[in-house]
Amino acid sequence: MYPRDLLLQERLCSIMSAKGQLHRFENRAQLLRHISEETGTDIDTLWDEYEAQVE
């Protein structure tokens, strides 16, 4: 196993604790629209959170 795979696993650990389907989104818009529809959170808020957290 390569170090990068270990890194991914480590970072995916918190996600993998949830039951459900691991879903892939191809771009930011797909992701934020999906989260907004699922949780009811405003896209503007999600966008700001995304921008604040992304390195």
């Binding site: 650990c13 993998m16 039951k19 896209i43």
Partner: protein
């Protein structure tokens, strides 16, 4: 031998649009729950059905504890064997764990249970770690080879163009190119054989081993037997294999590039080899977005364009609010209804809906509109990519279904998807059995095999 003609080389694989997802940097965000960003793509757990209950929370573990457990797993043969038996995809309606426990052989599940007793992870988390590892290693591998292939292809073309004769640099570069092309072709061939012949069982390690032990020639033969590969393409792929073997095993031939005497001859071989790799990229389902975009059925194109426009509005609201306002404020524009002719190569100049062009010309507004449609057309390909991944059919079958639903002839579909007409006919039967609600919602009417399809009299009996 010198060659003073202009060197024109055109390739089947478009490096601009080839779907590359090499392993990149990862980031984890908290957006109403954890999200992992990998390049442009992202991963998130989506609840299945009505229930969205959480299992025990691994976040209670410390980072050091998680790291120690992962380190232990990385050197563990039993864990690797679980990974090797994991699928790379699960059906939409199943919870991953529910599906995995039914899919994996009893031995793998027993190993998982035993392992969970010796490390901090419970058996369910262990299984999900293995599943992600399987997805990650498979998705990353062939796309990385494709990336190296495209780089090497660019290098050999540049070398060919910058010299008048075939010198040792061209020979070395060509040899590297051929090795990478062969690696890419062999990897995609293996993947296609597994997808095509074994389906579910392809996700079992023993079956994968069986396919790997067949040898490349045998695998190509299998694909030809089931007619996903045409006889002509099979012949060309065998030629690539023979050329590669000649150069690898015979130093003299390698030095003279096996009697390729002019730059033009080398260029033609590059084009033929690239065409072979392109065929495999298509039939393995890796490069099907542009065909669906151009030839897909109307309900699907409408769905994908509508989603792409909504995605683009989401982005523009944040990044270009002023330009978006210009479009919103224009009475001639109905932004959500913007559509374009997907059969044309330049969507920006082929807008078919959502804007009334009658009336005064406003070049500044038109330019904003063209930029919007340009972005939407990229989001359109992303949406097709996402739908193909999400479908319960595999990506190539998904492409076939969307084209069959458009009412195209078997022959045209076979030509666009680099496969045999007979294969398209057979897939029509398969899709009738296997299409799920997800696909039915996207295309409305699933094709229905009706008339008998006998071989034409001109076709030979073999």
């Amino acid at each position: 031998m010198g060659d003073d003609t202009d060197l024109d080389v055109s390739f089947a694989i478009d490096s601009e649009t080839a779907s590359l997802s090499p392993i990149g940097e990862y980031q984890v965000l908290d957006l109403e729950g954890p999200v992992v960003i990998v390049g442009d793509a992202s991963y998130r757990v989506v609840p299945v059905g009505e229930k969205a209950d959480l299992s025990e929370d691994v976040r209670e573990l410390s980072v050091d504890e998680i790291r120690a457990a992962l380190n232990e797993l990385s050197d563990n043969d039993n864990f690797q064997s679980i990974v090797d038996n994991c699928p790379t995809n699960t059906p939409l309606v199943y919870d991953d764990i529910d599906y995995l426990t039914r899919h994996l052989p009893t031995k793998s599940l027993q190993k998982c249970q035993e392992l969970s007793e010796s490390i901090l992870f419970d058996k369910e988390l262990l299984l999900q770690v293995a599943y992600v590892e399987r997805q990650n290693s498979l998705v990353g591998h062939s796309d990385n080879v494709l990336e190296y292939y495209l780089e090497q292809r660019a290098e050999i073309v540049e070398k060919l163009r910058s010299t008048d004769e075939i010198d040792s640099e061209v020979e070395r570069s060509f040899f590297s190119y051929l090795l990478l092309a062969s690696a890419l072709i062999e990897e995609l061939t293996t993947e296609t054989v597994l997808n095509e012949l074994f389906r579910e069982e392809a996700r079992l390690d023993s079956i994968t081993e069986h396919v790997r032990s067949m040898g490349h020639a045998k695998r190509l033969e299998k694909l030809c037997d089931v007619q996903i590969l045409t006889g002509g393409d099979h012949g060309s792929l065998v030629e690539v294999k023979e050329r590669r073997n000649n150069l690898v095993h015979d130093a003299q031939k390698r030095a003279g590039l096996d009697e390729l005497e002019s730059r033009r001859e080398v260029a033609r071989i590059l084009e033929k080899t690239d065409q072979c790799a392109s065929v495999l990229l298509t039939i393995s389902g890796k490069n099907i977005e542009s065909v669906i975009a151009k030839r897909g059925c109307d309900p699907y194109i409408e769905h994908a364009q509508s989603e792409a426009v909504a995605d683009t509005i989401t982005i523009w609201e944040q990044e270009y609010p002023e330009r978006l306002s210009r479009l919103h404020d224009c009475e001639r524009a109905a932004l959500e209804e913007i559509r374009w002719d997907t059969e044309e190569s330049d969507p920006k100049n082929n807008i078919t809906g959502g804007f009334t062009f009658d009336g005064f010309d406003d070049e500044e507004l038109y330019e904003i509109l063209r930029e919007f449609v340009g972005d939407a057309s990229k989001a359109f390909l992303d949406r097709i990519d996402a739908d193909a991944n999400e479908s319960n059919l595999d990506r190539f079958d998904f492409a076939l279904m969307v084209l069959l639903c458009a009412g195209h002839s078997y022959g045209d579909i076979a030509r666009w998807l680099d496969t045999d007409e007979k294969y398209v006919q057979r897939k029509e039967n398969v899709i009738a059995w296997r299409a799920s609600k997800f696909e039915k919602d996207l295309v409305e009417d699933i094709p229905r095999p009706e008339d008998p399809a006998w071989p034409s009299e001109t076709e030979s009996g073999d």
